[in-house]
Symmetry: D3
Subunit: 263 residues, 6 copies
């Protein structure tokens, strides 16, 4: 079976950088995945994307070396199973509140006896290749998001769930759970303290730890803190940021020009 | 009928800035069109987009004030008519070589007796509103691309075609037509000279003149030269440029971090 | 944030008329929404529509002033959250049986601390504009359907759920719950009595009350009774009704003609 | 091979009624086609429909007895061949100007030696059944539209084209060709005179004659005149007509109610 | 209402053969369904198919006499209801573990008072025809899969669930539940013993029994054992099997040719 | 730039085997392309596929080593250019009748000065990699079909067109052009003689020669004759052939069983 390069990097304690995919489009998925990111993640929760789109995007990503991850819309076993069957090499599961919910997510990722995943990895096996049935349980990453009040309180029991490969932090939901206002990459001090707390629990338990950002600045900050997988924005975010910046600059030129030419 | 703000700005000799759309996606089309561009142009020629996609993207663009233009795949009358029926407020027609071809394009944009457009503006009238049948001939922009050897030679006869609203320059094809290598925004001096020549013919004939760029630098340069409509890159270009730049910077951080932490 | 005109009208005790959307199609969605309905509702439960289609239809509706509502397929939090992220300004939740279920629906519509909606309003914020994060909890309508035996019995506790904005009655399911046969707009007297009962509970608790119809006659009847939002059929219903009626009339002509001309 | 019931009815001099399909949607196509129309016509010219949609709609229509016709976007041989391969049982070809163009259309509909249609009727044969290769040349209808100035002048030579099965009149384009304003079903007297002229030429040459309408009134009028196939509006037209009429009536009720209740 | 031919055959104790559909494609669905299978089953669990695709595929299947079944992704009531509304004549529900879960599935298939299916059979009624509301509860097949450890243990209580029409065995999941490795059609003896055990419980309770295979050999074996409905592979399996076999044979020819011609 | 392995094999006089793709589906395209075929060809002429589908299928094929070819719907320059921009590494152009038409096809495949292809290889360059602009003219295969009466007569002038890489024979159209009935792989002797004639002209002019088959038998026959590229059926053909064969065998079993068990 094809190796899960990102998961194995995390197991070796290494750091990786990925990109978020929010657009239902194969061309942008293929182009971004070929830029050199270690992994990309198709967002079925907040992205404007559904399974029908994902089934087209995963093959496009498979033309690259980037590991294909998917954020499922919810901790719903069949949604997890269906994206794994389509060839995802890992799932990020939103809003995991406690041990039981973490176990539910892990179980959906593993064939019996480790879990209750139903067998039928139609495109998964096409992408993974020979040995998929035997090795999938150890090569597909199951990642839980800690971003609710209950999840924060129970971070240790979640992190220690057998079979769980990683924790992912959603800064905005974490802020809301802490009673903080949503604000970009969440620059509040208590937010950073909480992020560091979750990081330390993961490191103590040798579980990979990742976090979402929407900027280079925060990606750098979290890499320095030791995160194993950091999201350097989304494809639509990159698009909007550059377009807005250059349009403003061009409008400046245009205004200036208008004055000097008398239009 | 809803006014064609971009076309009327050009008629007043004003300058506008637009964005190219190459992704078959409604969300990116809607988001870009709300950034403040004067117009956006869906590219059916080189973009990864077909009519089926365009029919979804045009309504999304209609949530904004940006004028919806479409580059048709070819100077093919029925392709022009079909995108106008879907609600485009102008077409950019590739590779127009001479007066007869320019007249063919204009004719496809105008109802009789000015042209031979067939009547049935299903979504066009929904977007344009009352008076569409009476005013469409004067509100929909017909723009010819000059970018072939023959087109260069016959620029005057093309520009003087009755009913033609504008000329658009494709720098890469223009370079190939001149025997120059394709190279980004085409920094060659003889290329610039040719661009200025076409510009001057248009200005002399009071026909709007536009050009494609893939950078802020060239957008500014052409605005300074007096172009009426300049394309400030494509949504996928903005996406790739920013993602690549930030990934390189983050990798730098990551490498540095790796050294200092001993990973 | 863009105001929710329909919700605010209901809060002022006003009456509104909407149209149901059952076809997975952007053109019909856009055309219907521009006819002057106060709101339109995309039906993900019984309509032939899924999220992939909805993501195209919502922008098309956004070209109009009609408030975009969505009937979700079930009282499933992540389905609710996903359509709100796509830009719905309200959800109609089927088959709410009791207070706990009503609270589940409300919670999915509200960011913490009022609920547990996850943050990431990608197109919602694009449509809603500045202030979305701060005001969404008060501008997005959460509407529960009362249409089961248990729901009928517990109408008061449902209606009094904090944060619930409205109740919607599905006449056919209500009939089945009452042991009555399904029959068009349900002309049975006991059905009407039950509808009036639910109406009075809503009015007593100052909660907006709506109902589904498939005819002008019943729309008028319910407006006279004081309903705040009444559905005047679906786009596919309007299509079929008019086509069938005119075909029958034309066939009459045709038959007549056939006799007189001897075909 | 499955019989072309509509074509054979026309050959017997009978009258038929059809419905136009402008929405890219399988459900509306299936529902309309089951209402009892003799044929339905998918509009690839002015409808918001492309081949990708048509490939889904034709099977849906095949659940009914309605003959599936397609208006191709233009008199372009490969567009004609491609829709026949997908299972259309006839094509309506827009804007045929003269004998040569009529022959081009007929040729695209017939396998050699009668024409130059390329062989590969993938879904056509699935729908048509055994004998398709042998009988398609006689069962698939080729219909030319007369709606341009030149077409009007050359109506006789067009009608007499060997292999041409019918003529279809587009009233709006015919009006424009005659210098008349576009206006609904074109109530002008000279328009009616021209329609009758084309009708008489077709009848004299025993070629089926059809016409487009957007109302019951005109459908009845043209049936009385002896037309073989009359289009009784489009599915989207039926939808809009009924929705607008009932909304206006309901608003009346609402206004009245508002006055009496003091809202 | 149109009769459910497959279900009624099972009720008479007859045997049927079906084909699995794993490709999101209307043409393959239509072509396979016309080959003479008694039923076809669209796989929303492991197939690369979602509701949006199914809504196109069901009409295509309706051009044939094959009974349209759907394997839903999970025992989730609203997923069941939604595919029935789209015109499925039966559902196969994965991983049913016990009586309560079986009752949940049955309830989702039946209108009150037998169940809690919500009313709105939009395309179901179009396909089923008059009488759908009255007869659907007896004509739509509810089939539970027994393929988990718990399900095996509780086979009797599941089979005896009132209203349950059939049991379907997934050989691979059954193997995993028994601690056996996944291996094609599962040739292990204890696997066969378990299959026979479930078969005998079904026969004793007069409940239809079906099973999945990926080969003619096993289809024949299970027909001989008395199964009521056996799946003779999937459309994609047939495709891959034949292509691989013929490619290998052709490569043989090519190698041989290469040797003899000296390429 | 990524090498065109199939084209270069032909240039070395080698033989290759490919598969035809007629289904608009990414999964079947990906699965077939990974079976070991040298190339696959997406059929935009007779296949149920349009550009929108192709844009999804090409990335899926790019996960394999198979060379992606596309049969365009017609010898229409912009259709050729658009599929090359999407990443096709060669086009098969139907119904080329003479030297002028062959030159038209070649020109559409080559950037100036060799041809008139417009520059903008958006996904082509993503797939081809660095050097695309410089090398595309020599790496993208232009293949003309000879299958019309005129084409047969002018085979030499077509084959000798500068820049033309290959000739492809469509046996059915060739038969029709010769006045022979369409019949599977065309077993007529005069058909074979004509095929050999075209083969010999190609070999004499060192132009690659390919042919379509729908069976292993004819693939083997043509490989033995020395063809450079032979199509071993289509994915839908493989599917239907195996399904029909196994269903017939299973029905045999079923009948037999019925007799012996007394059903």
């Amino acid at each position: 079976m094809r190796e899960n390069k990102s998961l194995n990097a995390w197991r070796r304690g290494e750091q990786t950088i990925g990109c978020w995919l929010s657009l239902a489009n194969t061309y942008s998925a293929e182009a971004i995945s070929k830029l050199g990111f270690d992994w990309v993640c198709i967002d079925l929760q907040h992205g404007m994307i559904d399974y029908t789109d994902l089934a087209q995007m995963l093959p496009a990503i498979s033309t690259s070396d980037a590991t294909p991850l998917v954020r499922v819309p919810w901790n719903e076993p069949y949604e997890i199973m269906k994206v794994l069957d389509a060839g995802a090499y890992g799932v990020i599961v939103p809003m995991v509140n406690n041990r039981a919910e973490a176990e539910l997510a892990v179980s959906a990722c593993r064939y019996p006896p480790q879990g209750n995943r139903s067998f039928g990895p139609i495109r998964g096996a096409l992408y993974g290749g020979r040995g998929y049935a035997q090795e999938a349980n150890t090569q597909l990453a199951c990642i839980a998001m800690i971003e609710t009040k209950e999840g924060i309180d129970k971070v240790e029991e979640i992190v220690q769930t057998p079979g769980l490969d990683g924790i992912y932090i959603g800064p905005a939901d974490l802020a809301l759970a802490m009673g903080l206002p949503v604000s970009g990459d969440q620059p509040q001090e208590e937010h950073l303290a909480m992020v560091k707390h979750i990081l330390s629990v993961c490191q103590a338990n040798k579980v990979a730890i990742g976090i979402h950002t929407s900027s280079l600045e925060y990606t750098q900050k979290y890499l320095e803190l030791g995160f194993n997988f950091v999201t350097l924005g989304s494809e639509s975010g990159h698009m909007m940021k550059n377009a807005a910046k250059e349009l403003a600059a061009a409008r400046g030129t245009q205004e200036q020009q208008r004055e000097s030419t008398g239009y």
